[in-house]
Symmetry: C2
Subunit: 258 residues, 2 copies
Amino acid sequence: MDDDAFDKLVADLRGEDAPRVWSLLVTVFGDMAQDGSSVTSAVLGQITARIGIKPEAMRVALHRLRKDGWIESERRGRGSAYRLSPQGRVESVKASPRIYAREAPEGACWLVLTDPAGQGAAPEGIAWITPNVGVMAGEPQDQDVFATRIGAEADLPAWMRARLCPPELVLLTRTLGDRLDRLTRALTSADQLDPVQEAVLRVLIVHEWRRIVLKLPRLPDQVFPEGWAGALCREAVGALLDRLPQHRPRDLEAALAA
Amino acid sequence: MDDDAFDKLVADLRGEDAPRVWSLLVTVFGDMAQDGSSVTSAVLGQITARIGIKPEAMRVALHRLRKDGWIESERRGRGSAYRLSPQGRVESVKASPRIYAREAPEGACWLVLTDPAGQGAAPEGIAWITPNVGVMAGEPQDQDVFATRIGAEADLPAWMRARLCPPELVLLTRTLGDRLDRLTRALTSADQLDPVQEAVLRVLIVHEWRRIVLKLPRLPDQVFPEGWAGALCREAVGALLDRLPQHRPRDLEAALAA
């Protein structure tokens, strides 16, 4: 695909606000180098440049990620190469199931009440409705908690859905859903993409979805508010990633050298 | 049964604190004259005297009940006769199903969540756990409320049971349970009771139970706290009332005249 056409695709998918560079790099490493592979500054520079990020901003972000212990670096030829630190790998692996999930949690979930006067720790993975009432995908094991199953057929009132996923987040799913839809249609009629273009789109798709999905409570689709497009996003992300090969960093190096 | 033995039964059933006289009279009219029958001051005087209430206290209470519109009075011979007002009958009839119920509400109940930001009326008959979470025996029909069924097998944590029925009320059920148990055993080996004695015991049993049962949330037995004796009380009350005939006021008048 020629550069102009591709830049338009990227601009539409990215939206008006430039992504935070360090966060985008977290996506890059998590998507193409979760196994600890090194990614050269040349490859990172190409990917970020196509997304509209300046070299200086990338260097600052790499410095921050290294300082935070997320990545490690080594000299490689005239540039550097970067890989996830052990801690960065742990965090990436932990987030992956949610980011790459093809299925929602199953239909039933659990309404959980904790003792309003209690001091104990609350169950993990709970989406709070009020300070002592929440919903979670699995049955909590805590003795001191009351939990009752909400069947897949339950119809939650609007106020409850809005507390599980606020309107701002609903809007983000709709906006991304629209962008992914336009991208899917554009790619259907598009020329062949080169490997770096494929990598750029993959990174942006995963990044935009990651920003949303990690904020969503892990709950079955039917508890979300009317107009929520998270399920459509998940499906579109899955279909697009199936279509865009996951290149290894060294393959992208070779493609750049060619 | 001779007077001394009977007074001991009454003293044990009544406990140390004398009942509020107007409230006891509400029980008398509700139990023996809910159909609007008149009860003479002579009959009322005999019943209350056996419970340890002075004539002056009875007169004050009758005055108050008449002023509140609960009862009406008319001259009858050298004394007066009293009957429930239409409003008093409505209230008595309304409370009766709970006071005289032989069965608890069925095993399942509903956990109800109302919108914490909502202004609407909450469902009736709800036992609140927190300001927007409660439990009720039936399914609420309100659109804006979330309700989910709590099965009979559900095991509520202790803090939740204690919010449905506080420790003071649990203690009252235990105390009454013990008294009813002692009365039941005493009556098994007792001499024949006369009609006024039967009426006095009946009134006291209904009265002591009424004071508790109308404070209890109308919920299945299994949601109450450990040590709660409400089910035992209900059973003992039922068995004792089966055994003590419900005399009509005019039969008691006749018995007194005999």
